[in-house]
Amino acid sequence: MAETAQSDAPAAGLHVVVSSVASDAHTWNLVYLQLVLAEAGHRVTNLGPCVPAELLVARCLTVRPDLVVLSTVNGHGVFDGTNAITALRAQPELSATPVVIGGKLGIDGSHGTAHAEPLLAAGFDAVFEDGAGTAAAFRTFLARIGTRVRT
């Protein structure tokens, strides 16, 4: 699957960048998110695993997405996520782009909102920590962003 494989979608959909973070090699989460977003009518640029912050910034400056979805499950999400959002927010062109992160964010297996606070403070618009209701919360967020971008 090429890095910029894009799904056919109605022009009305959002352009979403899906990406892992610098140290995370897991990809099933990314493959699944790409399909979910494509089926909801959005266009997806999937950057794949182990994406350093500089590469994420460079690709987002080229693609200028409506939404950036970072997904990580290796337990380093707080550190890598903070690095990524700091680098994105440092670019004036990306300072207002909606950016969210989700997955298993710490190595202690805790669920819920344990890691959300520092990530929100660092500049993420939403944090979806693995647990019951995460998928529904993400879909709700997606619908809201969709409305905001289209209007």
Binding site: S23, D24, V36, G48, I107
Partner: protein
């Protein structure tokens, strides 16, 4: 400095005695706890090999971040062997390595030279990986660069023979993506990487295969792997290592334990010499030392029982559905590309002769697809340019959706969790 057993020789002797070697996937950043984990593995009461799994910053070569984490006392998700001083790692291993206990370093790096240098300096000589298996599923290192890096690493390891040790490398080729890769491609990549190591000077290798969705299909794949290896790796010492399911794992302790025991039985019936275990914590978090020890015992005992059962009632052979023919076609097509296997591997990926379903690596062609069919077997939905024409029927259009992908990904989890829950309903807890 203490020295451990020759890894390949140790496993071969255990296999000769009819014992499956069981091994955890353990990695702990703190040296004292890593040592405790190795000692607990050694003393588990079944035939074990030890594991030091490295953290993911070491895997991607971000040593600045590793050192910052160590300085701040932050937990990493594995043992940072490059950045802990060599004396620290030697102290971890002192009195752990023994004539009957060897330790393997597991990492996942496409550029493993520093890792290999560090493990050799610490007195270790067994590791795992491969130019495709540690590259395509895990990162962004170009395949050509990974092949160069792994050639250097294999030669670095081979150089240790001058010091009287026999280094051992296991290919991770049988585990591509953890799940949803049809068995013939797993077998082919395992054999090709085993040959890559042999041609780069290593004479002790292991070939991996990961338990998939159907035990008969897995036994057939293990048979194909052993037969291709016997033919193409006749000049090196090799054994087969089976991985307990590497995909989405059952969430219930019962389902997780049953799946592990099935892997142990498959290992025995399929002729594997070593088994990598998983724990009841797998679906939730990184397992504790105790959970790993329990898993080692469950697997070791299940294997021993299966060995005894086979002695009473010899096993029926599983049918041939074509895995061996498919794997042979892929291996042959790749070897025919170029006299140098290093070059052939790079060209094979670019030409789509090797193309891993669902793999997002920029070099992977992405023209293949796979699914779990109605009777729980993995099958191709698209073969792209794989040299499998005439051998595989894909049965029409590939219609992978988010829902169908999730069903395939969670097939094993649901099967084993459902069975556990049904059993709980049928047999309510007594007392």
């Amino acid at each position: 400095m203490s020295t451990g057993a020759d890894f390949g020789e140790f496993v071969r002797r255990a296999a000769g005695a009819g014992t499956l070697v069981v091994q955890p996937r353990m990695g702990i950043s703190d040296p004292a706890r890593m040592r405790a984990g190795l000692l607990a593995t050694r003393r588990a009461g079944v035939c074990t090999a030890g594991t030091i799994t490295l953290d993911s910053y070491t895997r991607v070569g971000d040593h600045g971040r590793v050192r910052a984490a160590l300085a701040d006392g932050d937990d990493l998700n594995g043992y940072p062997i490059v950045d802990h001083p060599v004396d620290v790692t030697r102290a971890v291993l002192d009195g752990v390595l023994a004539p009957d206990f060897a330790v393997q370093v597991r990492h996942g790096s496409g550029r493993p030279q520093r890792i290999v240098a560090a493990l050799l300096a610490a007195g270790l000589s067994a590791t795992e990986g491969g130019p495709l298996s540690y590259c395509l599923p895990y990162g962004r290192v170009p395949v050509a660069e990974s092949v160069r890096a792994w050639r250097e690493s294999a030669r670095l390891l081979g150089g240790a023979r001058a010091d009287g040790v026999r280094p051992h490398v296991e290919t991770f080729g049988g585990c591509m993506m953890g799940q949803l890769c049809p068995p013939s491609l797993l077998v082919a990549i395992s054999v090709l990487e085993g040959m890559f190591f042999a041609r780069n000077g290593l004479d002790s290798v292991s070939l991996s295969y990961a338990q998939q969705t159907n035990p008969d299909q897995d036994r057939e794949a293990l048979r194909a792997l052993r037969s291709l290896a016997a033919e193409l790796l006749s000049d090196v010492d090799w054994h087969v290592v089976l991985y307990t399911y590497m995909g989405v794992f059952p969430r219930t302790p019962g389902g997780a334990t049953d799946l592990l025991a099935q892997a142990a039985r498959l290992g025995v019936r399929g002729g594997a010499a070593r088994l990598i275990v998983k724990t009841v914590a797998e679906a939730h978090r990184i397992p504790t030392i105790d959970e790993n020890v329990t898993a080692l015992r469950v697997a070791g005992h299940a294997a021993a029982r299966e060995r005894a059962a086979i002695a009473m009632t010899p096993q029926a052979d599983c049918p041939d559905t074509g895995i061996a023919a498919e794997a042979r076609a892929i291996v042959t097509a790749v070897l025919d590309l170029h006299p140098s296997l290093d070059t052939a591997l790079v060209r094979a990926v670019h030409a789509g002769l090797l193309d891993v379903p669902f793999c997002l690596h920029p070099d992977n062609p992405g023209r293949t697809g796979a699914t779990v069919d109605a009777d729980g077997r993995l099958r191709w939905t698209r073969i792209g340019d794989l040299p499998l024409r005439g051998l595989v029927t894909t049965g029409g259009r590939d219609v992978t959706t988010a829902a169908s992908l999730l069903r395939s990904l969670s097939y094993v989890e649901r099967r084993w969790d459902d069975e556990t829950m049904e059993r709980a309903v049928r047999e309510p807890a007594r007392g």
